[in-house]
């Protein structure tokens, strides 16, 4: 186990290179194998750079002046913090960031609390209608959100939920619930039933079964589901722009306030966007291993 780990680890992050690299160590090196490995590595890097390029360009633009940002694209410039200063002077970043954190994590926790029992019931005690229920839940994602904007706005107005974090948490929870239930359902279904049965034989009730057996065994899956839900809530812009004004506005509203069809604003917009994605980017880096493990969890039996 440990040898396998040490072998795989150095190549992590270059998935394309991993398989050929591992094979290269076991087979006698042929001249073409080295070349192939090189090509695959280059290809892997190339694809990664293409995917990452817009983000890189945004970060770079944030350090330019407005005039440089709108001039012909160039990699050579004197970095300046001008835009960051201007952006911070106009709006309090930390207020927006705090709202994003509370809303994204709050809605994820709430969604998990509702979805774990639901997915448990669907995975281990299915009825004739379980499949249909699952599909029906997913169908709610097919409705364009703007279609229900006015009814939800009216309900929120009457309940006093407009421009509150709790209001956003409720909407995000409902928005992500279908995906969270679906993901948990597939993870739970992969768990051998015998393990739960063994627990029951030992006298565990349903609650103990879930807490002591199901949750620890499927933790990577739950973690990656939670992460996905956090990221989806963090990036959601339609509801956050429409249901908040000043008190509960998250980072999406913060970015939106720097965009305009009149005047020069690219550098400021880029600086604001960089600041808005920074927390979730760092969070993603830290939890990358969990995510990949969760997403491939149960893929190989």
């Amino acid at each position: 186990m440990t040898t396998l780990k040490t072998k795989v680890l150095p190549a992590e992050g270059h998935l394309a290179a991993t398989s050929s690299g591992a094979r290269a160590r076991h087979t006698p090196l042929m001249p073409s194998a080295g070349m192939r490995r090189l090509w695959l590595t280059l290809l892997g890097w190339g694809i990664a750079l293409i995917i990452f390029f817009p983000i890189l360009w945004m970060v770079l633009t944030g350090f330019k002046t407005e005039a440089e940002a709108i001039a012909d694209p160039s990699l050579i410039f004197t970095p300046t913090l001008e835009s960051y200063v201007a952006v911070q002077a106009r709006a309090d970043y930390f207020k927006f960031a705090m709202n994003s954190v509370v809303v994204a994590f709050g809605s994820t926790l709430l969604a998990l609390l509702i979805a774990i029992p639901a997915a448990y019931a669907m995975a281990f005690l299915p009825t004739r209608r379980t499949k249909a229920t699952l599909l029906w839940m997913l169908s709610t994602k097919m409705l364009p959100p703007v279609g229900v904007l006015v009814p939800i706005y009216l309900i929120f107005r009457d309940l006093g939920l407009l421009d509150t974090r709790s209001g956003l948490i409720i909407v995000y929870t409902l928005m992500n619930l279908p995906i969270v239930v679906w993901m948990l359902y597939t993870f739970f279904k992969d768990l051998p039933r015998d393990i739960l049965e063994a627990g029951r034989m030992d006298g565990a009730n349903t609650f103990q079964e879930v807490v002591y057996l199901l949750l620890p065994l499927t933790l990577p899956g739950i973690a990656s589901t939670g992460l996905l839900s956090v990221i989806l809530s963090w990036n959601e812009a339609f509801w956050s722009l429409n249901l908040t004004s000043s008190n509960a506005a998250p980072l999406t509203a913060y970015i939106a306030s720097f965009s305009s069809p009149e005047g020069l604003f690219w550098a400021k917009l880029s600086a604001a966007s960089t600041m808005a994605i920074a927390p979730i980017l760092i969070f993603g880096w830290l939890t990358q291993k969990q995510m990949v493990r969760g997403l491939t969890f149960g893929a190989v039996k």
């Binding site: 722009l241 306030s257 965009s259 305009s260 069809p261 009149e262 020069l264």
Partner: protein
Amino acid sequence: MKFAYAFPLAGLALAATSAAQAETITVATVNNNDMVIMQSLTSAFEEAHPGISVNWVVLEENVLRQRLTTDIATGGGQFDVMTIGTYEAPIWAERGWLVALDDLLEAYQAEDLLKPVRDGLSHNGSLYALPFYAESSMLYYRTDLFEEAGIEMPEQPSWEEVREWAAELHDPANQLAGICLRGKPGWGENMAFVSTLVNTFGGRWFDEEWNPELDSPAWQEAIGFYVDLLGNYGPPGASSNGFNENLALFSRGNCAMWVDATSAAGKLYNPDESQVADRLGFAPAPVAETPKGAHWLWSWALAIPASSDKQEAAQTFLTWATSQEYIELVGETQGWTSVPPGTRESTYANENYQREAPFAGFVLDAINSADPTDSTLEPSPYIGVQFVGIPEFQSIGTQVGQTIAAALTGDTGVEQALQNAQRATARTMQRAGY
């Protein structure tokens, strides 16, 4: 030593009580330069009015429009001051969504506001929004290129002359376009310009029975001219250029001429933002058949929604931000070219402004000569120069804008594009019950 601690504490306590009493108003606005300055001067307002503190919601124009419409139509009451344009003001006033501003104080000097702007923000004789800044459109050109080519700019250029000059000056090898115009589809983007062009070619959006006239000879001629002019002598990719893109192109020296908002003048004259500040000339917007409606009138204004429960505080803010004192405050702190233009006679009478902004008198004339109630050669049933003041126009304008952009890129012929536009508009109007 103890006293040293006591003072800041007392200060804190005072600050806490005043904060507790302060009424917080939420102001929704667009992210345009003049509004950014207003935001940065918030503290000056709060100092002068300790009982009121201001929260800002800043959004991009289209997002803001949708956001405000949702809130005001449902009576959400999320905003106390809204930034709206001359398009929304009368429509929203008619529906009873806005508070009438009839009881303005003498000190505000409402009669100092430019008449066409004030009329544009009124409904049934009552003022419903106070103008923050206003603009018309005009022709910008490069004096150095015109001199080189020996062209003299007449007092009132015609579109035919503009085409000749564009053909002469067009020099794609040196990245110089003969003319830059809006091409990006949208009712507030390409259609703002196209509507003025159609007006001056003698066309109109609707006849007096509200029948669309988009396939009329005047429209054919105007759009044919536009596609030919911008397609042959415009910058590459003109169909994706809006105000911003053209501003960047012109200020970098890539356009010989540009017809667009007068509010660009301040930016083009600012050497920090523009490389052509010392070679900039301006003329009235070109005309063809008729001078009527050849240049537009637009104003960004502040209004109070009827759903706000802090209307008094909101009005205090409104009258501050659109007052003469505010304009002076901006002039003194940000420089006179940065003052919000086009709203008050007194701005144009100000010596500082006249000295710093050589385009001032010119802009004043353009605004004063724009008449939203009479902007077409043949009479039309609607109010508005570059738009039609009915709620349906947002979708009609944007749809027609797309078909015209398609004609510009050559995806469809001009005639075909206008037939499509006519059909779509007729359908929308029929559904809306006209």
